[in-house]
Subunit: 233 residues, 2 copies
């Protein structure tokens, strides 16, 4: 289980801090570290076979992207988003993805647009892709905006938070069909170079998605906070 030995293939020297960061992220995604649970430095350090330094660094980085909350001498915990916080998260997505969509309508080349349309339809009609190269419409549009700051914010920090709560709303067939239609309309607006329309459509789409997630998570202020203590020991 040692980290050093796991690094067999030669690649450019990655620090332990980076590695541990990714490992903890996986623990959070897999709900082994569920929202509300405590993130213990020593426990993780011994588990990964490293000292507390790199673990501490990784946790601080997770704090930076708001995945764990913490105050000076208190224990760190995986964030447990309230309904209010989820609403705010999707509002921020509305603002940023809407604007990114407007930029994309201005900057994408005809070829890029056509390629994106083709990929969208292929992903919809074809069988589910091999997960490795999954088609992510939102990420594609955001990256097409060309604004690296917005790209980093949406595909970095916010994406991690969304991913925790995406599992909830995933795999609902009817929603999937509706999403395809909305995605297709957005691309149509981009192809027409109507930035304002594209932005408006994207906002509506994100807002709808947000409402859907909120409906699935009606009232769970800190679901795993209590029994988390048990499992941590």
């Amino acid at each position: 289980m040692d980290l050093q030995e796991a690094e067999t293939g030669e690649r450019r020297p990655e620090t332990l801090g980076e590695e541990v960061f990714g490992r903890i992220l996986e623990l959070i995604y897999s709900t082994e570290l569920a929202p509300g649970m405590v993130v213990n430095e020593s426990v993780l350090a011994t588990r990964f076979g490293v000292s507390r330094g790199p673990v501490r660094e990784a946790i601080r980085r997770l704090q930076g992207i708001q995945l764990v909350s913490r105050e000076p001498f208190l224990r760190a915990r995986v964030v447990s988003l309230s309904a209010q916080a989820i609403l705010e998260l999707f509002q921020m997505r509305e603002a940023l993805e809407g604007y990114a969509c407007r930029l994309a309508a201005q900057r994408m080349s005809e070829a890029e647009i056509d390629a994106l349309i083709a990929d969208l339809e292929a992903a919809h009609s074809g069988q589910p892709p091999p997960e490795a190269a999954r088609f992510d419409f939102h990420e594609r549009v955001v990256r097409a905006s060309g604004n690296n700051r917005i790209i980093d914010s949406l595909c970095g920090d916010l994406y991690h938070l969304l991913r925790i709560y995406r599992r909830i709303s995933g795999a609902v067939p009817e929603r999937k069909e509706l999403a395809f239609t909305e995605h297709w309309q957005i691309l149509r607006a981009i192809k027409m170079r109507d930035g304002a329309l594209a932005e408006s459509l994207m906002r509506s789409h994100v807002e709808r998605a947000g409402r859907h997630v909120l409906a699935q998570v009606p009232e769970t202020p800190s679901p795993a906070a209590t029994d988390a203590e048990k499992r941590a020991s």
Copy 2:
């Protein structure tokens, strides 16, 4: 110069990491650590009379909010924004502050709006306030949006970056007059509860401010990068 001794007044236990973070921030604001200059862990540690641990933590936090750039084993440097990066920064502000403005138009009470109008006019007609309680129109509007995630992003991370480059465009009388007019128009739209108009006006206003900053910083890919080495030694 020791940090422990400087902390004479009793307050709740703040960690050295927090303290050092603030100190380095001040060094960056005062241009003692100018864009492009190296941020050396050991040097700062001895300067502040602490070990490298807290300094390292503070630097990592500065990396998190994108004020210093760094790769694994390379030296950390204060970011030196390119024209492209400044453009992207203001675009993100457009998206976020515009949306915040729309939210503010929906959520502010009549009393809050009137108070904000009064403060705006007082700050404009009256003599420059005592700096401590400076009137910041943008921050007031953003906080009025009620979206904590957007508030943290704009008043936290982005604000630090803007502040470094705000010095450049500050104290230009004609710009100041124009800004007041634009601020006043935005508030008028908010009072009319016209969120779409308020958002549109705020976007134009931010974009104009961005162009103004860009005009002052035409071509300086890394101005202090070269002579920074000298001063660092």
